[in-house]
């Protein structure tokens, strides 16, 4: 999952980037409104975490620009403005959620997860594929009592393919979803992670979960 954080506080940028990356998200940071618009309208983000009081362009202007563009990320407003009127305005202008600062990091994470589920029309945090369960909330995959020992990147790949079940996902799309925009990773890295993921699944007796469509990408049928 890829998240864009539009926030002018360097300290919040730092903590949000570190925390969300540790939870397996690819995180891009924009420090002002103009940068936020540039990132959000050209990148393919699942969730945008948006401050309202931003330099150059306000958060509401960023929100309007995103909604006018062809991109349709879920948008969570993260603001110190706590008045009902501010929340109503934000939600009416196209935001999907509103969280007031100061916030609990876990609550922010839970809200991002809810927005991701909404984005993929997934009511439950647990995706079942046959005997295999993928818990997008706890970031674990298991079969019966066996929990698969996956790395955060492998787990992210598995989650993304599971959320897009039935759709062929290209290595480029996976690369974009798994790594930050300024990362130097390549398609080869994706292939290596998918290969490692398959190997770990095979060891647990799970074969043929992830199919390869030559020249197109990967698929969980």
């Amino acid at each position: 999952m890829k998240i864009l954080v539009v926030e002018d506080s360097k300290k919040l940028q730092k903590s949000l980037r570190a925390g969300l990356r540790r939870l397996g998200y690819a995180v891009d940071i924009a420090s002002d409104g103009e940068e936020g618009i540039a990132f959000a309208t050209t990148g393919d983000y699942d969730v945008v975490v948006l401050d309202l009081m931003l330099p150059k362009k306000s958060g509401l202007e960023v929100l309007q620009e995103i909604r006018r563009s062809k991109q349709s990320p879920e948008i969570l407003i993260l603001s110190a403005r706590d008045q009902t009127r501010d929340r109503i305005t934000g939600l009416q202008q196209g935001a999907d959620d509103y969280l007031v600062k100061p916030f609990a990091f876990d609550e922010l994470h839970a809200r991002i997860q809810a927005l991701v589920r909404r984005r993929f029309n997934q009511k439950s945090p647990v995706i079942s594929i046959g005997e295999i369960k993928i818990d997008t909330s706890l970031h674990i995959a298991y079969q019966g009592a066996n929990c698969f020992p996956l790395t955060p990147t492998e787990m992210s790949i598995l989650e993304y393919l599971a959320l897009n079940r039935g759709r062929v996902i290209s290595p480029d799309a996976l690369l974009n979803q798994i790594y930050d925009s300024n990362s130097y990773s390549s398609k080869n890295a994706i292939e290596a992670h998918v290969s490692s993921l398959r190997k770990k699944l095979r060891l647990q007796g799970v074969t043929k979960l992830i199919e390869t469509r030559r020249g197109f990408g990967y698929l969980i049928a």
Binding site: D8, L12, R22, A80, R81, Q83, D86, A104, F105
Partner: protein
């Protein structure tokens, strides 16, 4: 206790209807009276004419009085239904003759009056209400008895009284019908007036109702709405215009309140968010590679929060008057130098030059602590809001009693004249994004508050992209 809401439409309608009803009733009474009198006069005149006709038929032949009356000429005196009546009395009250219609009834009570003719109401022998005309006269002597007429003097001739009565119920019925007609017309007029008045009021009040509807649409969330002033009647246009002006002021005030509240929230919540978020992430992933920088950031944010809280407390204490002012003799040049030294780091960081006053500075009387804080804030602002490598100029103007200190700097982000009205407000900042840093928008509020404490004056002006703030009223020792 709840009061009943009065309706203008109701009040105007009721009053108009009441007055119209009053006029109609008065008109009806006058017309009815006039018409009744007219009809009764006509009725009495006709009856009197008939009586006079019978009087001409009454003759005196020298010995007795005779009425030469023939029923066939006046059949109404013997008609079986609704007959008329006559009686001829002599002056002594003796009945000489009466109509056939009287034949079944006893003679009427003889009545004599001094007038020649008199009219009265009575109950006819057949029980109906009637009207009677009585004429007192001297019967004529026939023309053929010319000698007799000359012989008997008028005063020696007998007197006679002829009375003719007829029913008056037909007259009364006509009058009642007339009264009913007038009353009916009045009621119709009243209904027509009521309908037209209601319609006219409704039409007349339409603009007022429109204004009422417009106003009812305005709530604290829709203060940007306005009442239409175009097309309003002359009487309402000024009200609508004035109301719109008031709305503009209310909207401005409310927006200022909202902005203030948002600004306070931002200044207090942002450092708390930073501290909390850094702490949560740091505690959860203590192996984060730059974990040490988290401590520095937390420390920095807590200092920022501390500054905001400290400034707010100063402001509150100053405004509630719990800060004491101790007037001392202060060497102004030494104080300015001390403040500038304290800001040396900021000055060097932005490569700012501070140009001190060229004139000799006086010794003044002021509270050293608060004056130092005022100068610290003003000079710090001048440094912070100047472009890099700019010059901040301090100018002192003195007379024999007072000194004025001016601090002038070129503006990096130019202020407008409207901004000058806001710069002393708490938490106001030109930068609406409120970038984090040492500024919280309280400094000038504090200055204003300290200045007030010491009976000084502070004023801001803009000229040629230079911002100038002057501190006047510094009393020379």
């Amino acid at each position: 206790m709840a009061t009943t809401m009065r309706s203008l439409t109701k009040i105007i309608t009721i009053w108009v209807i009441l007055w119209v009803a009053l006029f109609l009733a008065a008109g009806q009474i006058v017309i009815a009276g006039l018409v009744s009198n007219l009809l009764q006069d006509r009725f009495d005149t006709a009856l009197e004419s008939k009586t006079r006709a019978l009087v001409t038929l009454t003759k005196f032949d020298g010995t007795e009085v005779e009425l030469d009356f023939a029923d066939e000429f006046m059949p109404e005196f013997e008609a079986p239904e609704s007959p008329e009546y006559f009686e001829l009395f002599l002056g002594d009250g003796s009945l000489l003759e009466r109509s056939h219609s009287f034949s079944e009834y006893p003679a009427s009570q003889f009545e004599d009056q001094t007038d020649e003719v008199w009219v009265s109401d009575l109950e006819l022998p057949d029980g109906r209400a009637g009207r009677r005309v009585s004429i007192k006269f001297i019967p004529q002597i026939e023309d053929k008895n010319k000698a007799l007429r000359e012989t008997i003097a008028i005063e020696n001739r007998p007197r006679a009284i002829l009375q003719i009565s007829r029913e008056r119920e037909s007259l009364d019925r006509t009058l009642i019908r007339f009264h009913l007609l007038i009353a009916g017309i009045s009621i119709l007029v009243l209904i027509a007036v009521m309908l037209s008045v209601t319609r006219a009021i409704k039409r007349g009040l339409e603009p007022l109702i429109q204004i009422k509807n417009d106003i009812s649409q305005i709530s604290p969330h829709t203060l940007d709405r306005r009442i239409a002033t175009e097309g309003q009647p002359r009487e309402l246009e000024p009200i609508a215009t004035q109301f719109n002006l008031v709305l503009v002021e209310i909207e401005k005030a409310l927006n200022r309140e909202r902005e203030f509240s948002s600004d306070v929230a931002h200044e207090l919540r942002t450092p708390v968010s930073e501290i909390r978020s850094l702490a949560e992430v740091g505690l959860r992933w203590p192996d984060e590679k730059d974990i040490r920088s988290y401590f520095a950031d937390i420390y920095d944010s807590s200092r920022q929060l501390d500054r905001v809280i400290e400034n707010l407390l100063h402001l509150c204490r100053s405004e509630e008057g719990s800060i004491e002012v101790e007037i001392n003799v202060i060497k102004l040049d030494e104080l300015i130098e001390k403040v500038c030294q304290g800001l040396a780091e900021e000055t060097a960081e932005r490569d700012i030059t501070i140009e001190l006053p060229q004139t000799e500075l006086p010794v003044i009387l002021a509270d050293a602590q608060w004056l130092e804080l005022i100068l610290q804030n003003l000079i710090f602002n001048a440094i912070a809001y100047s472009p890099n490598s700019a010059t901040v100029t301090l100018i002192a103007v003195s007379d024999s009693d007072y000194c004025e200190l001016k601090i002038e700097n070129p503006m990096e982000d130019p202020l407008s004249s409207q901004d000058l009205d806001l710069i002393f407000k708490r938490f106001w900042r030109k930068d609406t994004a409120r970038k984090t840093g040492r500024h919280a928008g309280i400094g000038l509020s504090l200055v204003k508050s300290y200045v007030k404490l010491m009976d000084l004056e502070v004023r801001a002006t803009i000229s040629n992209n230079h911002f100038c703030i002057s501190l006047s009223g510094l009393k020379i020792a």
